[in-house]
């Protein structure tokens, strides 16, 4: 089985762009994700932080990520989001190009999707400059 995808990846070559934050702050999901390259990343860094405009997915780093919960052997972040947002899943989920490979969906099912479209990642600009 291929690696599950983390839906909170940063903008980097090879990442899959799967959503764009709209003017209301919600995420519009692409029908099919687009794999971005270095040209995209370089251009995107010229403007507002891409992680605050787009949603990216890339392979779940598991133990290499600060959110990995070794005890629960899963992503510790999605549970916090579901708990904090507390939105119930509707019968029909919004179309999402990465759902079948999504780490969050794999762990929390439809609840993850219900709470996914109103969150956005903020990456500290200082780290991006490193």
């Amino acid at each position: 089985m291929s690696s599950l995808l983390c839906p909170s990846s940063t903008a980097k070559p090879g990442a899959a762009l799967f959503g764009v934050q709209d003017a209301t702050g919600k995420i519009d999901y692409l029908d099919k994700p687009i794999i971005v390259d270095q040209t995209f990343v370089d251009a995107a860094r010229q403007g507002r932080a891409p992680e605050e405009r787009f949603r990216f997915a890339s392979n779940c780093a598991k133990n290499g990520c600060g959110h990995w919960d070794s005890g629960g052997a899963g992503c510790g972040l999605v549970g916090k989001i579901v708990e904090a947002m507390n939105r119930k899943a509707e019968a029909a989920l919004v179309a999402c190009g990465i759902r079948q490979q999504c780490r969050w969906y794999h762990q929390e099912g439809a609840q993850a999707c219900a709470n996914c479209d109103e969150v956005v990642r903020n990456v500290r600009r200082q780290e991006l400059a490193q």
Binding site: Y29, E52, N122
Partner: protein, 72 residues
């Protein structure tokens, strides 16, 4: 079902003449979704455990809602 952002990106793709140009134009896409500056100032995220962190907090990656439902 209509997908506005997908349609917009398809139009962008049709309007460009090379993959490189498409990537550049795509990177410029900004639908003006934003958080308040207060929230941006408060929230840090995306720290890798492999890199030194700038501030010493146990959890640096924090997601937060872009809208708050007052009924919850």
């Amino acid at each position: 079902m209509e997908n506005r952002i997908t349609d917009k990106i398809k139009a962008l793709q049709n309007a460009t003449t090379s993959p490189e140009e498409f990537m550049k134009k795509l990177a410029e896409l900004d639908e003006k979704g934003h958080l308040s500056q207060d929230l941006l100032d408060q929230v840090n995220g995306g720290a890798s455990i492999a890199k030194p962190t700038l501030i010493d907090t146990p959890v640096l990656g924090i997601w937060f809602p872009t809208s708050i439902d007052p009924t919850v």
